[in-house]
């Protein structure tokens, strides 16, 4: 897709308002902007590449379908992540897929995905962190991933989760504490 600098400069809300008003092509710009963060969010939550792509597609399908309800007075990213959470919840509710897997299974996955022991320490740590993140309870994993993809904008995350900015900070605090504990637990088992 060719990029046009003028179009690139348009705000998310401006583009979405144009989509709402019938200029559907503009959705492709929003897609290009957000397919990676959305994919990263879903992949971080599910560790399933194919499913994550399906969920991203569903998010944009819903944006297209419900474009008429976009008022434009809020932040597009917040609206989009609202939709993303709903899409994911609906998927797991519909298919009755278990959201949590026991720690032991994740350890197996971790071992299976480990490379030679002499790999760089940083890479090992990152893999372990990724595994630790996957073990965290869903709501803690979610708040950390939202922090990542919303660039620590705790006020916006509060809007997405339906709680105050202060409450989000407490959630992040608790999630990070648990992540640290799980990380060290995994490290000891290595």
């Amino acid at each position: 897709m060719k990029s046009n600098p003028d179009l690139e400069a348009l705000s998310d809300n401006t583009l979405m308002i144009q989509v709402r008003d019938g200029d559907l092509d503009k959705l492709s710009l929003l897609f290009e902007r957000y397919k990676k963060p959305l994919y990263g969010f879903f992949y971080g939550m599910n560790k399933d590449a194919e499913l994550s792509e399906d969920l991203v597609q569903n998010v944009f399908y819903r944006i297209l379908r419900y474009r008429n309800v976009f008022r434009g007075d809020g932040d597009f990213r917040v609206w989009m992540f609202h939709i993303a959470r709903n899409v994911r919840n609906d998927h797991f509710r519909k298919d009755k897929i278990k959201l949590k897997e026991p720690v032991e299974r994740w350890n197996d996955k971790l071992q299976a995905s480990e490379g030679p022991l002499d790999e760089a320490i940083r890479q090992d740590n990152m893999r372990m962190l990724s595994a630790a993140l996957a073990i965290l309870p869903e709501e803690k994993r979610e708040v950390l991933l939202l922090s990542k993809f919303q660039n620590r904008n705790y006020r916006d995350i509060g809007e997405i989760l339906g709680c105050s900015e202060g409450a989000v900070k407490v959630k992040v605090f608790r999630a990070l504490q648990e992540l640290k504990e799980v990380f060290f637990r995994l490290e000891k088992r290595m």
Partner: protein
């Protein structure tokens, strides 16, 4: 708690010697904005690492799927736009509207020019106008375009009485139309006739046929307004359905409470 105490609390946390009460105090300080997450350096480092985690990239197939969907939607929009602009349909509708206007004019003219005209004559003319409206409505209800069907449903407004044929057509629309807006309009059009027990019974039957939360809600609210207790079973079924959105369930529960 003064600054020194806060610092001491954070120091104790970083040394890993805080108890549950002190953790709760730290959370309170965080929530109230007295301290920020950056006060906890080690956690900040972990958070940074989470932010640096590679979460992979979507494949080309996501792009393909998205652009196919977008193209389909654009085509659909364009074809809808073209259909709406087909002069033949507009012309037909305009002719029908013109005939209706002329007939109404004749009726009014008769009434004004002949004040001594009998009630029977006026009644006869207004019946003719109603019949014409009904014919138009039934014809428009079969149209492919949702906008035409909406016009059809709206034609019933202003009719003092409607025939069984019209109410049946409205129920067919309420139960089967693919467009939620048209179904909602049909429900609204039926509301003035809920004095008729048969209409109320048919509305209760319609509850079980709806899959749109919006129509389910509208029906539940109407049942509550009518105090139609025979609808309780049908509404309860919607409540028991796992697919019913929570917000709709709450509203339906409210409606049930009003009737209980």
């Amino acid at each position: 708690m003064d600054n020194a105490q806060v610092k001491e609390l954070i120091r104790r946390y970083q040394e890993g010697i805080t108890g549950p009460d002190e953790i709760a105090q730290l959370e309170y300080l965080l929530e109230t904005g007295t301290i920020g997450l950056e006060a906890f350096h080690e956690l900040g480092t972990i958070e940074n690492q989470v932010h640096n985690l590679e979460t992979g990239l979507p494949s080309q197939s996501l792009d393909d799927a998205f652009y196919t969907m977008l193209r389909d939607e654009i085509k659909k929009e364009q074809s809808l736009f073209e259909r709406i602009n087909v002069p033949r349909y507009q012309l037909l509708f305009r002719i029908a509207a013109a005939v209706l206007l002329v007939m109404s004019g004749i009726a009014i003219g008769h009434f004004l020019d002949r004040p001594q005209a009998s009630d029977g004559q006026v009644h006869q003319l207004s019946e003719q106008v109603s019949e014409l409206k009904e014919m138009m409505m039934l014809a428009l209800l079969d149209k492919e375009e949702a906008t035409e069907r909406l016009k059809a449903v709206n034609l019933t407004q202003g009719m003092n009485e409607v025939s069984t044929k019209v109410t049946q057509a409205l129920f067919r629309t309420l139960n089967n139309d693919e467009n939620v807006n048209v179904r909602l309009a049909a429900l609204e059009a039926l509301t003035p006739y809920t004095g008729d027990e048969r209409i109320r019974e048919e509305l209760v039957r319609s509850i079980g046929k709806q899959d749109s939360p919006l129509v389910q809600l509208a029906l539940a609210e109407l049942m509550a307004a009518l105090q139609e207790k025979s609808s309780l079973d049908a509404l309860q079924k919607i409540l028991n359905n796992d697919r019913t959105p929570e917000a709709v369930k709450r509203k339906i529960e409210e409606s049930i409470l009003v009737m209980s």
